[in-house]
C-alpha cells in the first residue's frame, strides 16, 4: 500500500543489536505518515519494543537510517538542544511496564514532569496537568503515590503523563497488557479517539483483537526479527498462513459432537462445517 502523504518517520534497512550480541532487528524499512493509525505486530522477542524505542529516539541503530520529521534521528542530532526539545515535544512513548514510567513521588508530579522539563511556564504546566487529570478522570488520585495504585490506575496515570506533553505522535508498547476487560476496552476507545482528533498512533502489540480496532495499517515482524509483511488491517488479519508463521495465532484442536478438527484460533469468516 502506498502512502499519499509525506512520511513523518522513515526507517531504511535498520538493524539493531543489544551489546553487539543479541540481534533485535534485521534490515527493517518502514514509513509512517502523519495521522496514521499503525500497528507493529509480532510475537514476543520479535523486536517491536526495540523498534518503538528507535522511533522514540532512545535507541540508535548501528546500521541503517532513521529519519523523523525530515531530520536524521541520531545521537548526534539530540546533542542539539533545539532539536531534542522539538522532538520530545512531538513524540510521546507509553512504556509497557507502568512502573518504569511512573517514577515521581505523586501522581501530580508525574503528570507535571514532561511539561516542566520542556520549560513551559508555571501557569501552563498547572493547566496542562489539571486538564490531563480531568480528561482521564483521575483527579482523585492527584496526591497518591503511583506505586500504591492498581494496574489500571497506573496505566491511566502513565497516559496522563504523556497527555500533558500534547504530543503529535503516540508510541504505545503493548498498551493492553495486564489490563482488566473494562480498562482494556476503555483504553482501546481512547486510542481510537486520539487518532480521530488528528494524532499519529503507532502501537506495538501481539493482540490480534486489539489490532482490529487500533490500526488501519499493519507491519508484521517475524520471530527472526525481520519485517516480513505490511498491508491494510484486512489484508494482514485475513492472511492466516502469515499469522501462523509469525506465531501470532495457533492451530486450535476441538470437537463438535463426533467431528474433531483443527484450525487457527482466529478466523474472520463464520465457522461452518457439516455436523453428522
Amino acid at each position: 500500500m502506498k502512502m499519499r502523504k509525506e512520511p513523518i518517520f522513515e526507517l531504511e534497512r535498520v538493524s539493531f543489536t543489544y551489546d553487539g550480541k543479541v540481534t533485535a532487528l534485521r534490515e527493517v524499512s518502514l514509513a509512517v505518515a502523519a495521522r496514521e493509525k499503525i500497528a507493529l505486530l509480532g510475537a514476543n522477542g520479535s523486536g517491536k519494543s526495540t523498534l518503538l524505542m528507535i522511533l522514540a529516539g532512545l535507541y540508535f541503530p548501528a546500521l541503517g537510517q532513521v529519519r523523523a520529521f525530515g531530520n536524521a534521528l541520531t545521537e548526534e542530532a539530540f546533542k542539539d538542544e533545539s532539536f531534542a526539545f522539538s522532538f520530545r515535544r512531538k513524540v510521546g512513548l507509553l512504556f509497557q511496564d507502568p512502573d518504569v514510567q511512573l517514577f515521581s513521588p505523586t501522581v501530580w508530579d508525574e503528570v507535571a514532569f514532561a511539561p516542566l522539563q520542556l520549560g513551559l511556564d508555571q501557569e501552563e504546566v498547572v493547566s496542562r496537568v489539571e486538564e490531563a487529570l480531568r480528561l482521564l478522570r483521575i483527579e482523585s488520585l492527584r496526591d497518591r503515590a503511583p506505586h500504591r495504585l492498581s494496574e489500571g490506575e497506573k496505566k491511566k496515570v502513565a497516559i496522563a503523563s504523556i497527555l500533558s506533553l500534547h504530543p503529535e505522535v503516540w508510541l504505545l508498547d503493548e498498551p493492553t497488557a495486564g489490563l482488566d476487560p473494562r480498562t482494556e476496552s476503555w483504553f482501546l476507545d481512547f486510542i481510537c479517539q486520539l487518532n480521530e482528533v488528528g494524532h499519529t498512533v503507532i502501537t506495538a502489540t501481539h493482540d490480534l483483537d486489539a489490532v482490529d480496532l487500533i490500526a488501519d495499517r499493519i507491519y508484521v515482524l517475524s520471530e527472526e526479527n525481520r519485517l516480513i509483511a505490511q498491508g491494510t488491517r484486512q489484508e494482514i488479519l485475513s492472511d492466516r498462513e502469515l499469522l501462523l508463521r509469525c506465531n501470532l495465532t495457533h492451530e486450535h484442536r476441538h470437537r463438535h459432537e463426533r467431528l474433531e478438527h483443527a484450525h487457527p484460533h482466529r478466523h474472520p469468516e463464520r465457522h461452518i462445517h457439516p455436523h453428522e
Binding site: 524505542m53 520530545r88 510521546g92 508530579d109 516542566l116 522539563q117 496526591d143 503515590a145 506505586h147
Partner: protein
Amino acid sequence: MRARRGFIERSIADITATLEKAIFSEELARKEGLLQNLDPRMKVITFLALLLAVSLSQGLLIIVALYFLTLLLAWRSRIPLGFFIKRVWLFMPFFTGMVALPALFNIFTPGEPIVTLWQTERFHLAITIQGLRTATFLVLRVGVSVSLALLSVLTTPWATLLKALHILRLPQVFILILGMAYRYAFLLLHTANSMFLARQSRTVGQMPGGENRRWIAASASTLLAKSYHLSQEVYLAMLSRGFRGEAQMLDTFRLKPSDWLWGATLLALALLAVLM
C-alpha cells in the same frame, strides 16, 4: 507447621513492614490538622528554629515546656499521642541512654555526690548532681529533638517535605533522586518478598545451610541485575519526557496569612527559649 524463616528473609519482611508503616505515616500526613494545613516551607523553618532552641536552651524546664508544646501540636494535628510518645521514647534508653550513662558518674562529671556506689581508700564512684543534670539534659534534648523531627515527618507527605527542603538550597536533582529512591525501594522490596514466597511455595522441609546461602546469593544477584535494568529503563522513560540532566520541579506552595502568623509566633517562642 510453619517453616522457620531465615535471617535475610526476616530482614526483608521487617524492612517491608517498616515501609508499610511509612505509608501509615502518609495517612497521618493527609489528615486535616493544625500542622498538616501549614505551608511546608514555613513548617521546615519553624521546626528548625525549635530544634535550635532545644539545643541551645540552658533551662531544663524550658526544654520540658518545649516538649509539652510538641505534644500539644501533635494532639492538634490528630496524631495518636500514645503512638507518637512510644515511637520516640521506647528506643531512647538504648541509644541516648547508653551515651548519657557515663556522664552520671563523678569520674566524668565531678561534683556533689548524691548516691555513692563504691567507696574504697583509692577509688570513689558516685552519681553526682551535676552528672545527673548533664545526663538529663542530653536525654531530654535528644528526645525533644527527635519528637520535633518525627512530628514534621508525620504531618508532611514525603514528597512535599522533599520539595520544601529546596528552601534550604538542597539541589533539585538531589531531591529528585531521594524521591525516586524512596519510590523504587518499595518495588524492589516487594520483588524480593515475592522471590522468597515463590521459593517457599516450592520448598518442602528444611534446606541445607549451604544451599540456602547459595540461593540467597543468587537471588541477591538477580535482584541487582533487575534493579540495574530497571534503572536503565527509568532513565529512558525520563529522557522520552524531556529530561536533559537537570531536573525541573514545580512547587505550588502558597503562604497564607495564618502561615505568617504561625511563623512569627514560633520564631519568637524559639528566640525566647534561647534567651531565658
